[in-house]
Symmetry: none
Subunit: 205 residues, 4 copies
DNA sequence: CATGAATGAGTATTCATTCAT
DNA sequence: CATGAATGAATACTCATTCAT
């Protein structure tokens, strides 16, 4: 992973429609083939320009990746914060977080898929420290709801909330790999089936 | 270092200890950085030889990847087949499949991690058709157990077994990203906590 | 430096001056050392750029070779067709074909030399089928003249025209190995001496 | 072209059946694909051994090439010397040289083909000075016969014998590319047709 | 804003050769 | 004599990036 040149860093801020279009293309391609396997030429081609012209919009390939991920996590955290602030009880809170995740998968599958494939490695790389910071904040929001539910007696007391959180998180986010908007499943049906399984369990009593 | 099971030892490429060592190194590196981002030089260096010398053992970088994945899936399918054949009832069957998955994560985390990151894209690539074929066979084994449980009345009837399978599969396999053998959690504790959550659900009644 | 005839300028790859320059350099080097022994670095160095920069102009080393050979054969066939169409009698036709060959050797010795050394093997390789196709068309043009001459009684009837053609062809083209423009011999003197030997024979009567 | 190691040069002399077999294989492959394009592994494979084992017989790939070419030219020169010594008159001398060439093509087509493709470039390379030396001796033998024929009045006086020699030489040797022993043509028929064309010419009078 | 030519560092792969066994 | 593992230098090719136009 190459280091960013500081000289061109001021570009990052000037948002425009063209930039967003290109970022969406980049996210889509990277989510499919992976960051290393996606070339700057692939992205440019899809955008209908030459690869060199991309550098008029972005300082580097890595800068595009950062912008995609930062935007994605910021939006997600904003929604999660809102949910946590408005949650009337832990059960409703958890359900809302889960529904929000499914909605996010539906709304921006490319960013979700990209995050899933690349985040683990990237969070150890310079320039991507924000990934760890923001995912830790997210984890705290979830665990707070889980712990509150345990204390309120609505969630079982036995499980380690951190582990429970990860089971939930991974089961939900991973659906981006097979859930296709407009297909057999909808956000509502996915959410419903997941919540039923999560809360009531697989087994009858 | 993983050794190949005798079941798959009949491959065209006769396995030697050196080959297995190199494959284990390759699997470890690729599972961390991704296939494209892992260079044959990285692998060779870790094996203590020059990159060109790898080609004495393997035809190509891609051939290494195929061998790792094929070996992994073959071993897994063998175990799953055995479990399905010996399962006394659906509940025991599902539990054994889950335990087997956690054991596999414990035994060969590199192959599991690699599979998770790369399989989705690779299965569309020529030379990796076996990925789809074998994962379909695996899916069938799981769904058969789930459906049998529904019919026997021990599993809730509402959920689509295919969807339930995917929730379970992703939650379990994804633990390879954070489960560390020798750490706080063990195969037994992970299995136990997951089974409890899965069967009884998160909520109290 | 050879320039492409307008007849072949309608290729997919739009020719630019830079491309033509590089192709001429490549043809020269390959004609001397052979295709395998000529590296893309050799070609790039001679062109004053780095080897990687060649790929801005050409898809591969092989693509350069194809373009050189295709261009050469197209130009040659065009001239031969014209000669055959305008030939007043077989003797004049054969003489014009021979003169044309010597002129071609004089005008583009690199392409001729390259063709001579590589065509035999290349014509069996995928992507070079046009070599066989075009050389067959050329052979037909020559043999038609030879046969017409035999029938008209101006050429001896004994010889197999196909064999005679090959004797002529090889004697003429091979001169590219030792004929040097600007040296002792000229196109005119070479043509003259060859025609005399061919038509009247070596022996006095 | 790498330089030969003097340390292993003593090997060159110990001839054996196995060596000759391998040299024949090498000559065949190199005559088809060219020296650079023929790998030492290709040769070894065809000989049924591993590439490293070749170095038990030969000091290097280049040493094999030298031995093939040296042997070929030595044999040819020996025959030519004999012919020149026994020639009763120039016409018989030239005819015998030509017949000898066709016989050589028939007997060792691989060496002839190899020589034709590689000699021009190789003769400028260190270690292959003998090519120029021997081919010059050969040229002298031919030219002597041609000049003697001119002086005796049996060959036309107009042509430059050096040029005539080259026309003959190239037409004859090049037949190795298309003459197939056991096919339509024989050494005798090729010789006959060539001699008729050469001496009497193509045109009737 | 975009092009097109170029860079320079890197990538996978090849190959002649060596050498301990 | 032959193997098999390794070397080291070279090979074709890729790719993020730069920059004059």
């Amino acid at each position: 992973m190459t280091r960013m040149s500081t000289a061109t860093k001021t570009k990052v801020e000037q948002s425009s429609e063209r930039r967003d279009e290109i970022l969406a293309i980049a996210a889509r391609l990277i989510s499919r083939r992976g960051y290393s396997a996606t070339t700057v030429r692939d992205i440019a081609e899809e955008a209908g320009i030459l690869s060199g012209s991309l550098y008029h919009h972005f300082a580097s390939k890595e800068a595009m990746l950062q912008e995609i991920l930062h935007g994605f996590m910021d939006r997600l955290l904003t929604r999660y914060d809102e949910i946590a602030a408005n949650a009337t009880d832990p059960r409703a809170g958890i359900d809302a977080l889960i529904e929000c995740a499914f909605e996010t998968i539906d709304r921006e599958p490319a960013a979700v898929g990209l995050y899933q494939n690349e985040a683990a490695f990237l969070s150890t790389q310079p320039g991507f420290e924000f990934l760890l910071a923001e995912s830790t904040r997210i984890e705290k929001i979830w665990i707070a709801q889980l712990r509150a539910g345990q204390e309120a007696g609505v969630f079982r007391a036995e499980g380690d909330p951190a582990v429970t959180y990860r089971f939930i998180r991974d089961a939900v986010w991973a659906t981006v790999q097979w859930y296709r908007p407009g297909g057999r499943h909808t956000v509502a049906s996915m959410t419903e089936q997941f919540l039923k399984l999560l809360h009531d369990g697989l087994s009858t009593r």
